[in-house]
Symmetry: C2
Subunit: 357 residues, 2 copies
């Protein structure tokens, strides 16, 4: 019975699997790269102070003008260079539709955000995975082939490896006729953003999210920045899919969060300091640690293997992320929590290692 | 320069044009079928009472389990028969993708929600418009041709005309191998919902929204109900597009709104009473009024023509919706406001008519 009603091809889709969101409050949750601190009090305070009854009764601003203005102000762009969506996943999906449905394949690294191949299936886009080097660095010379475009996270996920801006420029020059998306979900934790290149490169689209450095994963807000002709392409797809993707509450909370630059700088500083401390300690107790500019670490436990280590942490109520896939099946991705959480993680790691010997 | 970066075909899309959302507070806004009353105090109160800092820091439940349970409870379904999305527009878009990408054309009435042909363009779906009768009623016999499926709003928009359930059943029987979507955005204002047919018809998908009868257009929440195999198809598309479409605030506010059945019944009763009174008064002063079971009226002013009448109302700070399209270009769609707003509308209509004679 069931599938006769589905569009042909729907059954072949292999949807994205998000990290687990357990309801338990006692777990130490280091599996989905959430920020360990509550969001800007300016943003959270709005929920209590503002009277939303009229804003919720009416349709929201379909163009999210105030929010786009706040983003433009912060990043020294114009509002016409900013596109907002219901999480950066929606922004990515609409970008794939708007720019990459071409005869040539889309290029991205072989280890990267696992939603990219899913969007390709959804919109019938061919793709080609370009292998990273052994140390997970990007091999730029491989990105010059005829292509529908390029998408690359910087820092990369789940490796945490960061590409400096001159290498991003080299990538933009590999594909002058095609859109190059730099997915900067983790850029605020130590990298230089490609936003400063936007006015020089008509093919550059930079994507950010409020889920990581703004501590608002629950709000679902992502945005793209690029020259006006790219934003207009995105608007065309968005207005053919969903006119009002950002609700009235999210528009206001996100605007306040973006404008609270002091909170943001302070939060990123704290996460970076914890990461550095943790990176060092894990290396000291025998982990191989991939250099990270993100709010997570990709690490290889000295023993008993990543999958078993993951299970052992799980038994101790600590959730990290294990990817059962080629090249990283011996690694764990650990999100940066509070100092107290990371202390507990490290104590437990030591105990697991001790129990092996 | 600009469009060389766009996917082929993007330029040909003709996006949906939403009704105007002016910032002015002095306008009487009867143009987008919003509810004139604030939403359930149980729902709005949550924003003040609940501490969202942890819920917003984390990713929301990707499956919106509590919300789906509330909807299932209210409509005597199981949660597996409920799909939620970021507004019913997103639910519609994903439904078109999941069920209607076939060789045959999708069928819908020639006067209907103007987003349907846009989704068809977006996903490369052919469509065929089936003319309504002169009185805007649906001609059932025309829906038996080989088709990708059928979509029909009930009550229809922008006509307001309602199809009784036996005619919906006849439509379901026209296309036993194809999905028939009944888009019930306006059903709570006087019609019988097709939800009661779900367990008997494996091809029926019913779509509802919180934008109209729940007074939460600003929250962006819509849902689909149907047998489990249809919901699973939708989930496959959704999880290939955006894993977390419903934010943590919207999940909680929507759940409270759905559970406040007393507020909902009372609100619908008030809107229906105002509509009936207004229907009668407009007919008395010479308007032709299409029978409506929705929260709006499609009316033909006796003079000086709909477009001029629309302009005259606009000058008097009253916004209604004029569609410059075949068959309804002599009509105006007027949303039902509060009694006071409708009194002002009627007083202004009388003055405009008097100024013509």
């Amino acid at each position: 019975m069931s599938k006769i009603f589905w569009s042909p091809g729907l059954e072949q889709l292999e949807p994205y699997t998000p990290g687990e969101q357990p309801e338990s409050k006692t777990l130490i949750k280091l599996n989905t790269n959430e920020n360990p601190y509550p969001a800007s009090p300016q943003a959270l305070g709005l929920l209590k102070q503002y009277d939303f009854s009229d804003a919720l009764r009416r349709y929201p601003d379909p163009e999210s003008r105030e929010l786009r203005r706040a983003i433009a102000d912060k990043h020294k762009l114009t509002p016409e260079q900013v596109f907002v969506g219901n999480g950066s996943d929606e922004v990515l999906a609409l970008s794939f539709y708007s720019f990459f449905r071409r005869r040539e394949p889309l290029l991205f690294p072989d280890i990267t955000y696992s939603f990219y191949p899913v969007y390709c299936q959804l919109f019938d886009i061919e793709s080609r995975k370009i292998p990273l080097a052994r140390d997970f660095s990007v091999q730029l010379q491989d990105y010059s082939a005829p292509a529908a475009g390029v998408i690359i996270p910087n820092p990369n996920a789940p490796t945490g490896r960061y590409l400096p801006l001159d290498e991003i420029e080299a990538l933009l020059e590999c594909q002058p006729q095609r859109v190059v998306i730099v997915d900067e979900a983790y850029i605020d934790f130590g990298g230089d953003s490609a936003i400063t290149l936007i006015n020089r490169y008509p093919n550059l689209l930079v994507i950010h999210t409020l889920s990581k450095s703004y501590a608002l994963a629950g709000l679902r807000l992502g945005f793209a920045m690029g020259q006006k002709h790219l934003i207009q392409g995105l608007l065309r797809a968005k207005n053919s899919f969903n006119s009002y993707p950002i609700d009235a509450v999210a528009q206001r909370v996100a605007t306040a969060a973006i404008r609270d630059t002091a909170w943001h700088a302070d939060n990123c500083g704290k996460v970076i300091a914890t990461r550095k401390r943790c990176e060092q300690t894990l290396a000291e107790i025998g982990f191989e640690v991939v250099p990270s500019q993100a709010n997570f670490l990709l690490v290889k436990p000295p023993q008993p293997g990543a999958e078993a280590f993951n299970q052992a942490l799980r038994k101790r109520d600590i959730l990290v992320r294990y990817f059962n896939q080629p090249r990283i099946s011996e690694y764990l991705r650990i999100s940066i929590g509070t100092d107290a959480e990371m202390d507990q993680l490290i104590r437990n790691c030591k105990e697991i290692l001790a129990s092996q010997s």
